[in-house]
């Protein structure tokens, strides 16, 4: 088991390297002019100035040189009024992902603001979404073709078919417009004021956790309040997916011989399902769960738009719609990283559940 984990972890840098190469190739499809936005905040329209910048950052050098520079940055020497300054600029490994035209700030700053928001939403959604879906799927499978199964399946189909923004807006109308219970946004204005003030220490950038660490229960509750509707919307829509996969996987598992063996041993039905059926049935769900988490972390645009939640999805979508290539590529890179890591975690989880996997 340990070997397996180690082997998987060793793969990670190579996979990450592969992702960066892929992104870099996409980047190279742009003209040098477009790529200047990685180094310079405002791309000048003046032709001569542009060429100067291209020369300065070596945007016309061979691709391997550029790849290196893209990763590690360039050293730029400028002489002004007899004073020579040498500075090191750029380099995604140094944290410089370029400047985002649409967000009016460096991409790294944008990510640093948006990712924790998405992470927080994910943390609170994962359990309801995945656990809820599994629970429903198991119910459906165990009560196969009975009323409970039908209810579960209909529930799932409706959830999956319902357009998320419609559902979101309906929830807003029902639980907010008239009553003000669950407002859109991440926190209320009064809470935001406190969070932005110097007395509030941002340990994790996750508002709920920071609120508890700062002993502000009121802010903690306020942040939770804002997440209720987005989580419910997410859950209702994504339950269907987990539910269906769990259900069909469970149905198939229940047909297996070892289930009969387990029953033949006199084990209670609950034990049979829990100990014998579920671990086997959950394997496809692990993959799905990994995908769900990645999807949540990359941002859920529509939920974020409807609930005005400042997550990754809305930022990426806005950049894409305005052709802010630098930002889009940075997001792709970041999401690629998350995906690689998530897959490793999924693989390890697999090995934990299914010992047969540990062989390879």
């Amino acid at each position: 088991m340990i070997n397996y984990i180690i082997r998987r972890l060793i793969m990670v840098p190579f996979l990450l390297f592969g992702v960066t190469v892929l992104i870099f190739l996409m980047l190279m499809a742009l003209t040098p002019v477009e790529r200047t936005a990685l180094y310079v905040r405002d791309v000048p329209r003046n032709e001569r100035v542009l060429q100067g910048i291209i020369k300065k950052y070596g945007l016309d050098k061979p691709w391997y040189v550029q790849y290196w520079r893209w990763l590690f940055g360039t050293t730029v020497t400028t002489t002004e009024n007899g004073v020579t300054t040498v500075e090191h600029v750029g380099g995604i490994l140094r944290g410089d992902l370029g400047y985002s035209r649409t967000a009016s700030q460096p991409v790294a700053e944008l990510l640093a603001r948006r990712f924790p928001a998405s992470l927080e939403l994910t943390l609170y959604s994962v359990v309801p979404v995945i656990a809820g879906g599994i629970l429903l799927g198991v119910i459906g499978a165990v009560k196969h073709n009975k009323l409970a199964d039908h209810i579960v399946r209909i529930f799932g189909i409706v959830g999956w078919s319902f357009p998320d923004f419609v559902f979101g807006l309906l929830l807003l109308m029902a639980f907010y417009a008239g009553t003000g219970w669950f407002p859109p946004g991440r926190v209320s204005d009064w809470a935001n004021k406190i969070i932005m003030s110097p007395e509030f220490r941002n340990y994790t950038s996750l508002i709920t956790i920071d609120a508890l660490l700062n002993l502000r229960i009121d802010i903690f509750l306020d942040a939770l309040r804002h997440m209720v509707l987005p989580v419910i919307t997410l859950a209702y829509l994504w339950w269907a997916l987990t539910l269906r996969v769990t259900r069909s996987s469970m149905l198939e598992t229940l047909r297996q011989d070892y289930i009969t063996t387990a029953r033949a041993k006199g084990l209670s039905e609950r034990t049979v399902i829990r100990q014998h059926a579920l671990p086997n049935a959950l394997m496809p769900v692990v993959t799905l769960g990994g995908g769900t988490v990645v999807g949540l972390l990359s941002g859920v645009v529509i939920i974020e738009t409807v609930y005005n939640y400042p997550g990754m999805g809305a930022a990426a979508a806005r950049a894409a719609s305005q052709l802010d290539v630098v930002t889009v590529l940075a997001f792709v890179l970041f999401n690629g990283l998350i995906l690689v890591l998530a897959n490793v975690v999924v693989d390890i989880l697999y090995a934990y559940i299914d010992p047969r996997v540990r062989l390879d």
């Binding site: 905040r41 405002d42 000048p44 329209r45 003046n46 001569r48 100035v49 100067g52 002004e80 009024n81 649409t102 967000a103 009016s104 700030q105 944008l110 603001r113 359990v127 309801p128 656990a131 809820g132 599994i134 629970l135 923004f165 807006l169 807003l172 109308m173 907010y176 417009a177 008239g178 009553t179 003000g180 219970w181 669950f182 407002p183 859109p184 209320s188 204005d189 009064w190 809470a191 935001n192 004021k193 932005m196 009121d218 509750l221 306020d222 939770l224 309040r225 997440m227 209720v228 989580v231 419910i232 829990r274 579920l278 738009t305 409807v306 609930y307 005005n308 400042p310 809305a314 806005r318």
Partner: protein, 677 residues
């Protein structure tokens, strides 16, 4: 043992916890509401009493309304929700967007400002009074004493001079500085780099500028310094213009005339004030300006935070200097503690926020007004003559609608004189006056131009394309500016007169043979398409031989053809930079559009003389006269069909008060006059 149940139970607990959290509505910190009090100010022997009002302010004819019953949950914070938050910069010398203005005009002050809702009269701001020399080229301002910046520093004349000099020297052809370079250095000079190289090769090129001849650089800087001089002892700032300039005060009153604290700015990395180094700060762009996201002004509000893409928060400046109101009935101190400017892109969500009372004003897209109108209890209609609103309470619904105030853009129909037919021109048909086309100089005949004007059904256009919410304008200007006459001359739809003009055109040849030409608009623009259709229908209804064909062109093509004077009839629009008649007269009569229309030299010369006179005239009354003349000449020559200006709608919660409309600011209010209950 219950491992399987643990997850769902935990999930349910979390959800239950969230529900519980919701039931405990958070208690915001209780802050004392600052109430303004009567103030009696003595100024030059007069006693002015200022009273804080909680009623809707209508400048000319105030009508009492009763918002008393409407109370908000948080009267200390105003929330304005628009479609998005994405300004480039808060550096006043660089900002050229109205969204940026919304903040800058509230956190910074200028030397002068507008008198209430008037777009033509000025009252003192950071300057207490000013004099203009007889030749109109020298302005001397007395700078107010005792004014403090948000960081506590004192305002001095040096700050004023520094602010304007720095703006000019920072330059940038995409910035609003060209509005200063023309009056200070001469018409046609759009950037300070042109003081170094008049050919304009150094524009926007900081590297090249730095490499220029140091003597020339120093000279250019010196010109700037000489043009704007200060005297701390005397408390004055003197500005010397290259030419008399009517719009000068208007330019100073805008956001790019904001005054910074020199020490603070230098601390944060702007130009150090030394003519030896200015070239190092030139061409700093909107995103790289060091004060792009920092504010230290003298204004009634301070910038508390700016989260790009989400919101900006302003807080009240309790030490704001203003003691005399900008107009009768307006307050001198801000009353709302916090202003939150949020961006929410989804209409449904904005609407929900309005209904929940979490938003005080929201942007309503035109297509959704039918959703919001049922919630409007108080209807306020803009009165063009009084420049105020007439309000009527119709029900107990919570919203108030301000409608009818004119926007600052217009769509016209342009005729091209002496069409460019080189290499063939597909829009003129046969190219001859044979009933199957038009000659290149078709529109040189005034009767044709008048016929088009008379055959255009303005009412139908306004009703159908603009949902009835627009006003037809008189002349090339738009309402609410010096020289605009509400009752000025304009064409009315008259089929008989249209026929008459057609009969007179081209010595009767047109009436005999008819014509055929193509009228163009840019693909997707429904308003412009509708205009074309109206003309087409009306001419066709006179006789089928008057054929207008409508053609949609992709925008780049459309623009190119228009610029090259190849379109016989083009529908196009303009949004103003500056609410000044020069900003309308210039492009339409001698500048951009005149060029595309290929106005005959004589006509152009005539217009040029009048426009130049208008811009140089500093006496307001005289200026107004000149522009009225211009309007008359424009009407008589009918070089285009002057269209309609769309009127705007703005939806507010009825617990808000203190709003007045000034076309300069549009819907970006001066927040300090607003009240909230």
């Amino acid at each position: 043992m219950f491992k399987k149940l643990l997850w769902p139970v935990a999930g349910l607990l979390i959800i239950a916890g969230m529900v519980l959290a919701a039931c405990t509505t958070p208690t915001p910190e209780v802050i004392k509401v600052v109430e303004t009090v009567e103030k009696i100010v003595e100024k030059e022997g007069e006693t002015i009493t200022v009273i804080e009002t909680k009623e809707v302010v209508v400048t000319a004819t105030p009508e009492p309304v009763k918002p008393v019953e409407f109370k908000s949950a948080d009267p200390n914070t105003m929330v304005f929700v628009s479609i998005g938050e994405n300004i480039d910069t808060l550096d006043p010398a660089w900002n050229y967007e109205s969204d940026g203005d919304a903040v800058i005009l509230n956190v910074y002050d200028q030397l002068v400002t507008y008198k209430g809702a008037s777009a033509t009269e000025f009252v003192p701001a950071l300057a207490t009074d000013w004099t203009v020399s007889d030749d109109g080229k020298t302005y001397t301002f007395n700078i107010r004493k005792g004014v403090k910046f948000h960081n506590g520093a004192d305002l001095t004349p040096e700050d004023v001079a520094y602010s304007l000099r720095r703006g000019l020297l920072q330059g940038g052809t995409n910035s609003p500085q060209w509005l200063f370079t023309e009056p200070f250095f001469g018409i046609g000079i759009y950037d300070v780099a042109e003081l170094v190289d008049p050919e304009g090769t150094l524009d926007d090129d900081p590297e090249a500028l730095k490499a220029a001849d140091p003597a020339k650089l120093a000279e250019a800087c010196q010109k700037v310094v000489d043009a704007i001089q200060y005297d701390d002892a005397a408390g004055t700032v003197t500005m010397k213009l290259a030419t008399p300039w009517g719009p000068f005060l208007a330019t100073l009153a805008q956001s790019w005339g904001s005054i910074l604290d020199k020490d603070w700015a230098i601390e944060n990395g702007t130009w150090d004030g030394d003519c030896a180094t200015w070239q190092n700060y030139y061409g700093v762009t909107s995103e790289t300006s060091p004060i792009r996201d920092k504010v230290n002004g003298t204004g009634p509000y301070m910038l508390e935070s700016w989260t790009p893409g989400e919101e900006k928060v302003l807080v009240m400046n309790p030490n704001w200097w203003r003691t005399e109101p900008v107009d009768v009935g307006l307050p001198t101190k801000p009353s709302i503690e916090r202003i939150v400017l949020k961006g929410v892109s989804e209409w449904g969500t904005r609407f929900a926020m309005l209904q929940a009372g979490d938003a005080d004003i929201v942007s309503v897209p035109r297509g959704n007004i039918s959703q919001v109108d049922p919630l409007v209890g108080e209807w306020c209609e803009y009165n063009l003559e009084t420049a105020g609103f007439d309000c009527e309470v119709k029900s107990d619904q919570p919203l108030r609608l301000f409608k009818g105030a004119p926007d600052v853009s217009r769509t016209d129909v342009f005729f091209t004189f002496d069409l460019n037919v080189e290499g063939g021109n597909p829009y003129v048909g046969s190219g001859q006056l044979d009933g199957n086309g038009i000659p290149a100089d078709f529109f040189n005949d005034i009767h044709i131009r008048k016929a088009f004007n008379y055959c255009f059904d303005f009412d139908s256009y306004i009703r159908e394309a603009l949902a009835g919410e627009a006003v037809q304008v008189s002349g090339p200007l738009i309402p609410g500016m010096i020289g605009y006459d509400v009752n000025g001359p304009k064409y009315a739809f008259d089929m008989d007169k249209c026929k008459e003009e057609l009969q007179l055109a081209w010595d009767g040849q047109v009436w005999e043979k008819g014509f055929r030409l193509q009228i163009a608009y840019n693909t997707g623009n429904v308003t412009r398409q509708t205009i074309a259709q109206i003309l087409q229908n009306n001419f066709a209804s006179i006789d089928g031989k008057f054929r207008l064909e409508i053609i949609a062109l992709p925008w780049p093509t459309y623009l190119a053809e228009f610029r090259n004077s190849r379109l016989p009839v083009a529908v196009s629009g303009w949004i103003e930079d500056l609410h000044d008649p020069h900003n309308w007269a210039q492009p339409f009569l001698i500048g951009t559009y005149a060029g595309r229309q290929n106005l005959p030299q004589e006509m152009w010369d005539m217009f040029n003389e009048m426009v130049m006179a208008g811009v140089a005239e500093t006496d307001e009354a005289k200026r107004a006269e000149i522009y009225k003349q211009i309007t008359q000449v424009d009407y008589e020559n009918a070089i285009a069909i002057r269209g309609a200006v769309v009127t705007t709608r703005s939806y507010w919660q009825r617990w808000m008060g203190g709003y007045y409309y000034n076309p300069i600011y549009g819907w970006d209010s001066r927040y300090y006059t607003l009240t909230k209950q």
